[in-house]
Symmetry: C2
Amino acid sequence: METKKLKIDVCFSPYLYPVYKDNESIVVVIDILRATSAICTAFEHGAEKIIPVATLDEAKAYKQKGFLVGAERNGEPVEGFDFGNSPFHYMGEHVKGKTIVLTTTNGTRAIETAKDAYKIVIGSFLNISALCDFLISEKRNILFLCSGWKNKFNLEDAVFAGAVTDEISKRSTYYDMGDACLAMKYLAQMTQKNPNKFLNHSSHKERLAALNLKEDVRYCLTPNQTKAIPIYKDGALIKMVNG
Amino acid sequence: METKKLKIDVCFSPYLYPVYKDNESIVVVIDILRATSAICTAFEHGAEKIIPVATLDEAKAYKQKGFLVGAERNGEPVEGFDFGNSPFHYMGEHVKGKTIVLTTTNGTRAIETAKDAYKIVIGSFLNISALCDFLISEKRNILFLCSGWKNKFNLEDAVFAGAVTDEISKRSTYYDMGDACLAMKYLAQMTQKNPNKFLNHSSHKERLAALNLKEDVRYCLTPNQTKAIPIYKDGALIKMVNG
């Protein structure tokens, strides 16, 4: 008897999520440049909780209540908040033990979009190995949700989904890949030797380079800086307790 | 002074079209397996006009009026119509000079989705070189619209968009590629040696193989069987008169 395979697929835009969603899949939200990289960094540096909000108005309301609030729009920090979404803002003693509120152009909206999923976890190159271990251990369908750029496909989110798929498919034969996953797995295999070079022509990388954020890009593409897997529970992200 | 570049991008699903659409772009509708391949074949064999309709009800109404009607759902011909969407159905004397009505699971819906575009043309491997010549000569923004499979990404449509992008970017430096186009260009370069092998694991190819349609797949992946470029005018596709 053949075992029923698990599904693994990737949705390239929050706008497309209704087409891909089901009640069975673990959703991995991806916003490599830079929201999900920043979130993973914050947990590595001891943040207690991150509350993702979709709008600046919600973020302001939290700020007025005294929360630490990060806000980014179009790649830049929004005035009147504590920081933007550079991972470097989320390192150090000031985040330790804290609840942080975060709103970004794409990433926090993707989390909002998927909020009714069976389980939502946060992926980035920074926690890629821990994420693969977790996903394989769960034995569930997997759906990568790329935040994209204003609902358009973006290269770095999609390639990350492919990199995770590549690793998982090397370690487990239980998964049946959707076409999008298959395409991104091939693409990720091409990038492995030099992801930084590969992404050279991507639109968002150019956008960030124009904002003098090359260091951010380099950091966000560096694998395995943390074992933290942020998971969404009751409206907030917390660090999953493993094992 | 730097000339303003033209945009070239790819939209992976009709569902995502509202995110990508503008009033400037030539939209290239793609449904490699098999609607746009069938359409190109029909014009090569002398069809006069193809009226794409989104629903079976519309198709039935045309059938009752005496039109030749092709109808496909889920890869199979629909009973009560003249043919499905196999390109082999659209070869020969019975299509010559005729107006054909066509409804398919994905392709004709994609045409319907883009109907307000500046210009809609039909792409397939069968007319790829003629299509590239035309697109370059137009000096306009280009948007590939993949029909996908039930609004999900599919490999063969996306790879075709990448193949056209690859060819155009070799011949012209006027275009600024969106991330989706860039990714598919890389992917198409990987497939060039053997597209049939590359697509071996694609979901739609498997679907068609299960329906004994391997010959269809082989034909639909064969480049340059026609110079016909179908173009959408006043609710119907006609063969563009070149030059």
